[in-house]
Symmetry: C2
Subunit: 184 residues, 2 copies
DNA sequence: CTCAACTTTGAGTGTTCACTCTATATTGGA
DNA sequence: TCCAATATAGAGTGAACACTCAAAGTTGAG
């Protein structure tokens, strides 16, 4: 047997602790001590399982960025409304991950860093997705125009998401659908 | 005489040093040591003039926030295009300060903290400004509708600004004006 | 049951941070 | 020129940070 059950459970607790701390207070709140306290673990145990704090943080942020994808199978049949609804749903159902997603997008350390690249790559995939849906809905649209509108639509969604992160009482869903109506 | 000339000059050097450090490397780069080194001053002199590092940082960031305003006197005559152009200009000319402004808002140090509140307050002022400009441009618009459109427009601008911050080759200005055309 | 592999502990390291304190130097009005 | 107010130097403080390590405890396959 490669690993003991105790270690596997401890690893999960550490990841959970990191995720909730990041969602509550961003990178600043996710200190090693805070993570260990919340996970009920001492520093030594942490470093028996991970090489660095950064490793866990990146793991959790990546999870958040990936989780926002509305249709991982990419069937290519969803409408704009489906995509917008999926985006909104993610924020309503996974507020912790959603907050991390927004924070991660903003607090990218240095140019060309991992988190930033990953975010952009994912963003471009989403733009394609939205562009395809727009082109399907209106076949007079050129690919270029659809791409531009998709970029605009996602910009609006990200901006509204940021607004929601600042103030959870913001009616994200209402504005998101209104944006879709006017921009697509 | 209340103050000596030497102190006034030192204060200016410290503010300049803080501004340039923030612009180059964000909050992370603006340590007390870095600020003092660049200003050619020791810590003791710094604290003879300021109560805390935060005081200077906030002073500089606020200065940048004020720079976004195309019409500080609030004459109420600017058009949507004026406001959009001013917003774009701010992000293009002060990218790092804009980034700090945003990071400070999302990274909530303590619940209900100052930075977050300040950001929201500023956001609401901007929404009013945009709403007024929209109402002036189209007098069939109700205040409520104008307010909603303004919120949407600013959401889009914020989102596009982040997109640009992630990838400087993004044509922020082009998308911002297209958003204005479709949302206002 | 045994024992090697794995896990946990918790005190400890070294660094960096914002900030303080006291002695010394400079300023500028009278 | 005098001297109180102001400015500066620079060593020092304590807290927070990520991270280490040797020793003790636990697990589970054989």
């Amino acid at each position: 047997m490669a690993r003991y059950q105790a270690g596997i459970r401890t690893e999960a607790r550490i990841i959970d602790a990191t995720r909730s701390l990041l969602a509550e207070g961003g990178l600043e709140a996710a200190t090693l001590k805070a993570i260990c306290d919340r996970a009920g673990v001492k520093a030594g145990s942490f470093y028996n399982l991970f090489d660095s704090k950064e490793e866990v943080v990146i793991m959790v942020v990546r999870e958040a960025i990936d989780a926002i994808d509305p249709d991982p199978t990419g069937a290519g049949t969803d409408t704009i409304d489906d995509l917008v609804a999926a985006f909104v749903r993610f924020f309503e159902e996974e507020p912790e991950l959603a907050r991390i997603y927004v924070i991660a997008a903003v607090t990218t350390e240095s140019p060309g860093s991992g988190a930033r690249k990953r975010f952009l790559k994912h963003h471009k995939r989403r733009v394609e997705r939205f562009g395809d849906a727009m082109a399907r809905a209106d076949d007079t649209l050129t690919d270029e125009t659809a791409g531009m509108r998709a970029e605009l639509m996602l910009g609006a969604l990200d901006g509204l998401a940021f607004r929601w992160a600042l103030d959870p009482s913001f009616e994200f869903s209402k504005y998101a659908h209104e944006a879709a109506r006017r921009l697509c």
